[in-house]
Assembly symmetry: C2
Homo-oligomer: 464 residues x 2
């Protein structure tokens, strides 16, 4: 009998304190490759703030680390378990507590799935914009913890722009409420945004107040096909320079186009070097705005530009983009059979003006390191996901992939970019974070971590 | 000879280390009323980051507090001097270091005036939206330190939405760089937004990287005149509920309308209970959008709705709104002659759905406390500025004004609002901040302050 487990069972009930070995294994890691994962002691499923505080208090008394987990769809290992940890799963905290259409806010428990919230607010003609690739399964708590991005960011911003307030259980067991329900507010330090993107290292989220927008007008969608990736990059820069405001501006390179066609044939041009997928949602102005985007793409060298003729075709194009990740996984599996093919999913963001240089650089790195790299990403934000294909069973392939990963990171920083545009640091990029923010930045991070979590209770080894 | 002054002169040159008594007096306070202000030891005017670090280092060695000042247009006393302090004025740090039209960013020193930056980026067809009332004189550094709002926030957000990165001199003398130049980024804690709105208590800003937007389309402007303030509040709620997106939605109550007409006759209706000033900047859609706003106002009970016929008339209406503050100061001076009339300028934000209740409540408080209160504000954000007219020479009037101030704050909190929507905490609202964020929130604030500024070097007594 473990006295910590006894305390947890007393506080939460036995059905919310789980030690089944299969379940423990299932909760070891998120979707990041190449990251270590420990063996947790127990998975807890608290239902409310008081129960989360009880779990945190018990863990603190026993000196056992706490790892918060949402849907474990993260791509940096931030949700990976550490040995002996108490995992706090938000899977039993799925209530939408309030939707207020006048003040345009919603208040939710952290385990609410992004798509569930989106559907609920749509009934009020409202919209929760952040749309990470995982939106159909990832949770608002996880989205907030990682400051998740997505495809709509190019016009509507990332998760942090929509988080008005939080409730957080601190390492002390205290329940902190941050932020507000108002459109504006400057009372004190912006603690809300300090917790957004802190990847579970500063506290456990128990409630999130988000801002909503009116539902956007129906969008018009187009595709531009480029014979060279740099031409696609130049088109993106010109779209930004002209102040055009697409609601979506995504890039797929040839590797991805071919992978998607192999995975699910959709009639994409396999001979193209890159494809830009763009949309506008400006209502009466949309046709004109789409024509302006098309003209820029043509002038930049696109050899084919076509608009979706109806909503079904637009949805199919968006679906092609959403298939990029599974298609590349299949491509990796086909490249290195026997289940050894894998992906290092990278995430780098550069100033929009440097996008073409970054695309060129990734191609050069792929050639130099002799690894296949496909690039997909949120071109309009300068946020790319180079996906490096590796043979997990071959140390040389792994080493080449690692080298390419490092060179991509270094190039991103050299271009004034960041080592992570939206996936986060987790375990995967701790060294790169340190390089990006430098020794002073690291000391400030550590000082804040120590101020809020002096014993290192929360998610030890992550981020810093 | 003061050894600290000698050190400062050695580091900055004598012309940047000022102890003239008139100058010291001029730098004692910002524009907040009712706030204590100390006598500074010296005003320093460093020209670059290294000189700021030198001043901070010297002050720290001598155990002398540091107070950063921009243009001292703040309304909460955050820039007020404290006795014996070294003031760091950013008045010699006025360089626009970079404007990048492709990545849509600008990099500036903190002393650049908001209007100067706005004009400089306009030459590139770009726009820096935050537009506090003081925008023609206030600095970007001050705007960032207070997270300034303004009239365009209702559609375009406040200062913090536009700050991508900062350079800050810390209490240790280290130079911290936060954030990024990219549209997206999640590398580490959001230190940028921790410093935004921290009112000079955590460090001294030395460089700001801001995001820019394409210049908006020309706007169309309208006015709706209401026989009752609650009808105006209801119109604002309905505008939000319908998802209409005005680029400006301001309210002036009868006290302000009369004060403006007395100050500079512009043909505003003195018999109206309230006026809503609204604009749209949606290009080809603008006329339809303005008609939709007008229809909502009429349905809510406006007895007159009219659109500006040209840009000059629109500018005049905007000018009327911008005159609200000086006009109310004149009104206070006329109400209590002999130079004793003054204003307590309040700043409260409530959820948009509670605006009508807040307006009613302020009228009730004015009657109960027997003080004139005029209300002006950013109605579309639920952010109101009740301006309380007092006789500074009459302790009873001051006490009634103070009571009204407190009751307005309490009502705002009771309605789920915040004690400051955009002016900040400074010295004016420390007690109200404590009430709003509670003991746990206050402890977390103090822990962060201690982590970054363990000896309390920066702006002591402010905010906390």
């Amino acid at each position: 009998m473990d006295p910590l487990l006894d305390e947890l069972r007393a506080a939460l009930g036995t059905d919310a304190v789980l030690t089944d070995p299969d379940l423990l294994r299932a909760h070891q890691r998120d979707e990041a490759d190449l990251c270590a994962a420990g063996a947790p002691l127990v998975i807890t499923r608290p239902r409310d703030t008081a129960q989360v505080a009880a779990v945190v208090g018990a863990a603190a008394r026993h000196g056992v680390p706490v790892v918060p987990q949402g849907a474990r769809t993260g791509l940096a290992g931030a949700a990976n378990a550490v040995d002996g940890a108490v995992v706090i799963s938000t899977s039993a905290m799925t209530d939408i507590l309030e939707i207020d259409p006048v003040s345009r806010i919603a208040v939710v428990q952290p385990g609410v799935v992004n798509a569930t919230l989106a559907a609920a607010v749509a009934e009020h003609g409202l919209w929760y914009p952040p749309d990470p690739g995982s939106w159909e399964s990832s949770t608002i708590g996880g989205n907030v913890a990682t400051n998740a991005g997505g495809m709509c960011c190019v016009k509507y911003g990332v998760t942090t722009e929509y988080v008005l307030g939080l409730e957080v259980v601190l390492a002390s067991g205290d329940v902190l409420r941050t932020g507000r329900r108002t459109a504006k507010g400057v009372a004190g330090y912006d603690l809300t945004r300090l917790f957004v993107g802190s990847e579970g290292t500063l506290g456990v989220l128990t409630e999130v107040t988000v801002a909503l927008r009116p539902a956007p007008a129906e969008s018009l969608t187009m595709v531009a096909v480029f014979p060279a990736t740099t031409a696609a990059g130049a088109a993106v820069a010109e779209i930004a320079t002209r102040g055009l405001s697409p609601s979506l501006l995504e890039l797929l390179d040839q590797t991805h186009l071919r992978a998607i066609e192999a995975y699910r044939p959709m009639g994409l041009r396999r001979d193209a070097a890159a494809l830009l997928l763009a949309a506008v949602d400006t209502g009466a102005r949309a046709a004109d705005d789409l024509a302006a985007l098309a003209a820029v793409c043509t002038a930049a060298g696109a050899d084919e530009v076509y608009a979706a003729t109806d909503a079904a075709e637009a949805a199919a194009l968006l679906q092609a983009r959403r298939l990029a990740h599974p298609a590349m996984e299949r491509f990796a599996a086909d490249t290195y059979p026997d289940g050894n093919g894998g992906l290092i999913i990278d995430d780098v963001a550069v100033p929009r003006g440097s996008l073409a240089v970054m695309l060129d650089g990734v191609a050069r790195i792929a050639a130099e390191c002799d690894v296949p790299i496909g690039v997909v990403g949120h071109a309009g934000d300068g946020n790319l996901h180079p996906n490096i294909v590796i043979d997990r069973a071959d140390p040389a392939s792994l080493a080449r992939g690692r080298r390419a990963f490092d060179e991509i990171m270094q190039l991103g920083l050299d271009l004034g970019g960041t080592c992570t545009g939206e996936h986060g640091v987790g375990l995967l990029k701790r060294e790169w974070l340190a390089r990006e923010i430098g020794p002073v930045g690291l000391r400030v991070h550590q000082a804040i971590k120590s101020a809020l979590d002096p014993t290192g209770l929360f998610n030890p080894g992550k981020v810093l």
